[in-house]
Amino acid sequence: MTENIKWETEIDAALALARVEKKPVLLDFFNPG
Protein backbone atom coordinates (compact mmCIF):
# COMPACT_ATOMS: atom_id res chain seq x y z
CA MET A 1 0.00 0.00 0.00
CA THR A 2 1.45 3.34 -1.08
CA GLU A 3 1.21 6.27 1.32
CA ASN A 4 -1.26 9.02 0.49
CA ILE A 5 -0.38 12.04 -1.62
CA LYS A 6 1.37 14.66 0.51
CA TRP A 7 -0.32 17.84 -0.62
CA GLU A 8 1.25 21.24 -0.20
CA THR A 9 -1.27 23.91 0.76
CA GLU A 10 0.64 27.12 0.00
CA ILE A 11 1.66 28.03 -3.52
CA ASP A 12 4.88 29.77 -2.53
CA ALA A 13 6.09 26.66 -0.71
CA ALA A 14 5.06 24.45 -3.63
CA LEU A 15 6.90 26.59 -6.17
CA ALA A 16 10.00 26.71 -3.99
CA LEU A 17 9.98 22.90 -3.81
CA ALA A 18 9.39 22.71 -7.56
CA ARG A 19 12.48 24.81 -8.22
CA VAL A 20 14.62 22.70 -5.91
CA GLU A 21 13.35 19.34 -7.21
CA LYS A 22 13.02 20.57 -10.83
CA LYS A 23 9.47 19.26 -11.07
CA PRO A 24 6.24 20.86 -12.28
CA VAL A 25 3.43 21.62 -9.84
CA LEU A 26 0.09 19.82 -9.91
CA LEU A 27 -2.36 22.48 -8.69
CA ASP A 28 -5.73 20.99 -7.73
CA PHE A 29 -8.60 23.36 -7.00
CA PHE A 30 -11.16 21.28 -5.12
CA ASN A 31 -14.50 21.69 -3.37
CA PRO A 32 -14.06 20.77 0.30
CA GLY A 33 -17.86 20.36 0.52
Binding site: M1, T2, E3, N4, I5, K6, W7, E8, T9, E10, I11, A14, L15, L17, A18, R19, E21, K22, K23, P24, V25, L26, L27, D28, F29, F30, N31, P32
Partner: protein, 150 residues
Protein backbone atom coordinates in the same frame (compact mmCIF):
# COMPACT_ATOMS: atom_id res chain seq x y z
CA UNK B 1 -11.28 12.37 -7.18
CA UNK B 2 -10.93 11.73 -3.43
CA UNK B 3 -12.96 8.52 -3.57
CA UNK B 4 -11.41 6.88 -6.62
CA UNK B 5 -8.47 8.59 -8.25
CA UNK B 6 -6.24 10.11 -5.59
CA UNK B 7 -6.22 6.97 -3.38
CA UNK B 8 -5.08 4.86 -6.38
CA UNK B 9 -1.59 3.45 -5.82
CA UNK B 10 -0.37 4.20 -9.36
CA UNK B 11 -1.63 7.78 -9.11
CA UNK B 12 0.04 8.29 -5.72
CA UNK B 13 3.30 6.89 -7.05
CA UNK B 14 3.20 8.94 -10.25
CA UNK B 15 2.45 12.22 -8.50
CA UNK B 16 4.99 11.62 -5.75
CA UNK B 17 7.76 10.81 -8.22
CA UNK B 18 7.03 13.41 -10.90
CA UNK B 19 5.26 16.46 -9.49
CA UNK B 20 4.85 18.77 -6.51
CA UNK B 21 1.19 18.35 -5.46
CA UNK B 22 -0.60 21.49 -4.28
CA UNK B 23 -4.24 21.50 -3.19
CA UNK B 24 -6.31 24.62 -2.69
CA UNK B 25 -10.03 25.16 -2.04
CA UNK B 26 -11.90 26.46 -5.09
CA UNK B 27 -12.76 29.73 -3.33
CA UNK B 28 -9.36 30.45 -1.78
CA UNK B 29 -8.29 33.95 -2.71
CA UNK B 30 -6.34 35.32 -4.45
CA UNK B 31 -5.49 32.04 -6.22
CA UNK B 32 -9.05 31.29 -7.30
CA UNK B 33 -9.33 34.67 -9.02
CA UNK B 34 -5.79 34.50 -10.37
CA UNK B 35 -6.61 31.22 -12.13
CA UNK B 36 -10.24 32.13 -12.95
CA UNK B 37 -11.67 29.04 -11.26
CA UNK B 38 -15.36 28.48 -12.03
CA UNK B 39 -15.79 24.72 -11.49
CA UNK B 40 -14.09 21.81 -9.77
CA UNK B 41 -12.08 19.73 -9.91
CA UNK B 42 -9.77 22.03 -11.86
CA UNK B 43 -6.36 20.42 -12.27
CA UNK B 44 -3.59 22.68 -13.56
CA UNK B 45 0.05 22.01 -14.43
CA UNK B 46 2.43 24.83 -13.50
CA UNK B 47 6.13 25.17 -14.17
CA UNK B 48 8.39 26.08 -11.21
CA UNK B 49 7.92 29.77 -12.05
CA UNK B 50 4.16 29.43 -11.58
CA UNK B 51 3.20 29.63 -15.25
CA UNK B 52 0.21 27.53 -16.35
CA UNK B 53 0.71 25.01 -19.17
CA UNK B 54 -2.24 22.61 -18.98
CA UNK B 55 -5.69 22.50 -17.41
CA UNK B 56 -8.50 19.99 -17.11
CA UNK B 57 -11.90 20.46 -15.48
CA UNK B 58 -14.01 17.56 -14.22
CA UNK B 59 -13.45 14.07 -12.84
CA UNK B 60 -10.64 11.95 -14.28
CA UNK B 61 -10.24 8.25 -13.50
CA UNK B 62 -6.72 7.04 -12.67
CA UNK B 63 -6.15 5.75 -16.20
CA UNK B 64 -6.98 9.24 -17.52
CA UNK B 65 -5.38 11.40 -14.83
CA UNK B 66 -1.86 10.01 -15.25
CA UNK B 67 -1.72 10.55 -19.03
CA UNK B 68 -3.30 13.97 -18.60
CA UNK B 69 -0.53 14.86 -16.14
CA UNK B 70 2.10 13.48 -18.53
CA UNK B 71 0.63 15.70 -21.23
CA UNK B 72 0.79 18.67 -18.87
CA UNK B 73 4.41 17.92 -18.04
CA UNK B 74 5.19 17.56 -21.74
CA UNK B 75 3.50 20.87 -22.52
CA UNK B 76 5.38 22.62 -19.72
CA UNK B 77 8.66 21.45 -21.29
CA UNK B 78 7.51 22.22 -24.85
CA UNK B 79 6.42 25.73 -23.99
CA UNK B 80 9.80 26.41 -22.39
CA UNK B 81 11.67 25.06 -25.46
CA UNK B 82 12.88 21.88 -23.73
CA UNK B 83 11.95 19.60 -26.60
CA UNK B 84 13.89 16.48 -25.60
CA UNK B 85 12.32 16.53 -22.14
CA UNK B 86 8.89 17.13 -23.68
CA UNK B 87 9.38 14.15 -25.99
CA UNK B 88 10.27 11.98 -23.02
CA UNK B 89 6.94 12.69 -21.33
CA UNK B 90 4.95 12.33 -24.55
CA UNK B 91 6.59 9.03 -25.46
CA UNK B 92 5.83 7.70 -21.98
CA UNK B 93 2.20 8.76 -22.34
CA UNK B 94 1.84 7.15 -25.76
CA UNK B 95 3.68 4.00 -24.73
CA UNK B 96 1.73 3.38 -21.54
CA UNK B 97 -1.65 5.04 -22.20
CA UNK B 98 -2.40 4.87 -25.95
CA UNK B 99 -6.13 4.50 -25.26
CA UNK B 100 -6.37 7.60 -23.11
CA UNK B 101 -8.15 10.77 -24.11
CA UNK B 102 -4.81 12.59 -23.96
CA UNK B 103 -3.16 10.42 -26.62
CA UNK B 104 -4.26 12.29 -29.76
CA UNK B 105 -3.00 15.64 -28.46
CA UNK B 106 0.24 13.92 -27.43
CA UNK B 107 0.75 12.59 -30.97
CA UNK B 108 0.15 16.07 -32.36
CA UNK B 109 2.53 17.70 -29.87
CA UNK B 110 5.18 15.02 -30.40
CA UNK B 111 5.15 15.83 -34.11
CA UNK B 112 5.56 19.52 -33.36
CA UNK B 113 8.41 18.85 -30.89
CA UNK B 114 10.23 16.69 -33.43
CA UNK B 115 9.79 19.37 -36.08
CA UNK B 116 10.97 22.18 -33.80
CA UNK B 117 14.04 20.25 -32.68
CA UNK B 118 15.02 19.19 -36.23
CA UNK B 119 13.44 21.75 -38.60
CA UNK B 120 12.38 18.71 -40.62
CA UNK B 121 8.64 18.88 -41.45
CA UNK B 122 8.27 15.12 -41.94
CA UNK B 123 7.28 14.49 -38.29
CA UNK B 124 4.30 16.79 -38.76
CA UNK B 125 3.05 14.72 -41.69
CA UNK B 126 3.74 11.53 -39.75
CA UNK B 127 1.69 12.88 -36.85
CA UNK B 128 -1.25 13.57 -39.17
CA UNK B 129 -1.02 10.13 -40.73
CA UNK B 130 -0.98 8.41 -37.34
CA UNK B 131 -3.85 10.52 -36.08
CA UNK B 132 -5.91 9.86 -39.23
CA UNK B 133 -5.30 6.12 -38.96
CA UNK B 134 -5.78 5.67 -35.21
CA UNK B 135 -7.98 8.58 -34.08
CA UNK B 136 -9.94 9.64 -37.20
CA UNK B 137 -12.62 11.51 -35.25
CA UNK B 138 -10.26 13.40 -32.92
CA UNK B 139 -10.17 17.18 -33.03
CA UNK B 140 -6.34 16.81 -33.16
CA UNK B 141 -6.65 14.92 -36.44
CA UNK B 142 -8.54 17.92 -37.81
CA UNK B 143 -5.93 20.33 -36.46
CA UNK B 144 -3.15 18.31 -38.13
CA UNK B 145 -5.03 18.08 -41.44
CA UNK B 146 -2.88 20.68 -43.28
CA UNK B 147 0.24 18.64 -42.51
CA UNK B 148 -0.87 15.91 -44.95
CA UNK B 149 0.52 18.11 -47.72
CA UNK B 150 4.07 18.32 -46.34
Amino acid sequence: MDAVTYPNDRVIRFITENMIPLRVAFDAQPLSADFNIKWTPAIITLDPDGNEHHRTVGFLAPEELIPSLLLGIGKSYFETDQFDEALGSLEKLLGEYPESGSAPEAIYLRGVCRYKSSQNPKPLKAAYEQLAAEYPSSEWTKRAYPYRLL
